[in-house]
Amino acid sequence: MKRLGAWLHGRTGYRAGLRRLLDEPLPAGTGWLFTLGSVLLVLLAIQAVTGLALTLYYAPTPDHAYDSIRFIDTSVPLGSFVRGLHHAGASFVVVFALLHLLRVLFHAAYKRPRELTWLVGVGLLLVVLAFALTGYLLPWDQRAYWGTVVTINIARLTPWIGERLAQVLQGGVDIGALTLLRWYAVHVVFLPAVLVALTIVHLVLMRRHGISGPIRSDPAARSRPFYPHHAARDVLVSLAVTAVLVAIASEGAPLESEADPTDASYIPRPEWYFLGLFELLKYLPGRWEIVGALVVPGLFVLLLALLPWLDRGDRREPRQRVPALAAVLLPLAILFGLTVVAWREPAAMPAAAWSAREIAGAAIVDESGCVRCHAENGLADELSQQPGHHSPDWLAAHVADPEIIAPGLREAGFVDPGDVAAVVAYVRQLRLDPALPELAATDLVALRVIGRSCLTCHRLDGDGGTEGPDLSDVGARHDQAWLRRWIEDPEAVSPDAEMPSFGNLLTSAELDAVAAYLAQRR
């Protein structure tokens, strides 16, 4: 080992470089707070390696992106963990970038001669946020797709060039294959190149001017080289942060159902570090939206960039720099407050629980013998393994007439549209949660009937038609006996009832089950 080192040194002279790197004298009293930059470097390395690993399995096309992510989660050894690391790691990078920025802010380390180091740092923060924004789209699930719709619509607000900018971001007139591919390219090629270049500049500048050190140096403390004293601090904090990241990452990363561009009912929520801005937009509707979406963030970034020139002089004590600190901290505090407000709002999307329609779909699939062909090694892939790229229209046509692989070649036979919708909903749900929930037998009977028949006119848990009243809390208005009589023959209860009677269509057991189920909904 020693001889190899000597041989290498004879050819490269690496020891002098290494010594220069490690023996950097640090100002006296450089403490734990000065480890944040190193932690950030470690986190970026984790992002780089996990990102590289993910590119081995990810496919950046709408047809396969979601399937490939699901494959990583379920079939690739350590796949779910690596995706969890990359997902949670992104949040860690944002948090530590902000902490690092705050540390520099409090120590006034951006002052002459370190203005450029600060400016490059602000650039790095923007690159990190661009990483977050582009990476968000890649899983191609509902969250990714609709979150990106919002991002692009915000870009569209830009005066004069908005429409052109949106088209450049989309790679076309709409969000689709070209968008995914170019965001992928930006995420894995362009941004890493910029990040590496800016990081090198940042570090070289940092070394050139030395670190600023504590504001008041302790006369008893003495200057010590970086290695091993401060390096040990860097390593210990990095290990601790990595341990927390690993613990969080072992949960994996979230994945919703596949992106469905036709499902405009989806309410997107951004990643937490954009939640504050997202909340701000709620208070600035209409033509004020541009203020929250572009003007405020733009001015804040400008303020950060110009800070070394706004807060000049040699004073480093925070008490002597109240205006400069307030200018940065106040907006950050408001952003933090907005983030908390948005965080506490319940997510608008219900959890991926099974709806009545999906349960009905399962029953229809059961009766129709879909699994004769959709079986392991059958004529067609299992239903839970269906590739995700069929549109709901395609699925509907295929359900109506299984031999139609290319809808439009011939007319589909008639199938009740309620049944088709139920099967489509079921197949989509299967990809998310392959196990039907455990339900009482009578509830199952009731939900099958409701999903096939009632939802054509009525709503239940936000799904269904609007001609009839919402059934979600019908039990608060009517008791079980009344409901049974009403469903069996509405006109017998009230002569001017508009609902058709179901007495002839449902069995007595089904009527009982539906009435019992609805009565407990209140």
Partner: protein
């Protein structure tokens, strides 16, 4: 310098843990490829009474699963009687993988690419093929119905 040596150990150990962990992660991803999902199974290809003197070509659509990509491939197999049982030969020429065809006049399988030729049992008669046509497991399911099954 007791303390200094200890600090050096912390730095060296910590950096090794972080770098080693990341390297191991990447290596696992690259080297431990996912389990092969291809499964062979018995597939019904014909009824016994459909088999005459000549080998019967049957084209099957076989599911191919490669990671997240699912597709189907056509596989051609020649099925023929063999005493009381049946024999199934892969139609893939053992030379360079072209599909052989049955020539009823000469009673040989002939490869259109380089003139390889096999007899009705798949043994090489002429040309460059290095070995006989591949034999696939085949059986008759139940004698009454006479379903011919092959494993593919």
């Amino acid at each position: 310098m007791e303390r200094r040596a200890w600090l050096k150990a912390v730095v060296g150990g910590g950096v090794s843990v972080l770098a080693g962990g990341l390297a191991a992660l990447l290596a696992t991803f690259a080297v431990r490829t996912p389990v092969d999902e291809r499964r062979e199974e018995w597939r019904r290809v014909a009824r016994l009474d459909e088999l005459g003197d000549d080998p019967l070509p049957v084209t099957l659509s076989v599911p191919i699963v490669h990671g997240w990509h699912r597709t189907r491939a056509a596989r051609t197999v020649y099925v023929q009687r063999d005493g009381d049982g049946v024999r199934a030969l892969s139609a893939v020429c053992t030379h360079l993988g072209c599909l052989v065809g049955w020539n009823a006049a000469s009673r040989t399988f002939e490869c259109p690419c380089h003139g390889g030729s096999y007899d009705s049992r798949g043994a090489v008669v002429a040309g460059p093929p290095p070995r006989a046509l591949d034999v696939l497991p085949a059986r008759v399911d139940n004698p009454e119905d006479g379903d011919v099954l092959i494993r593919l």
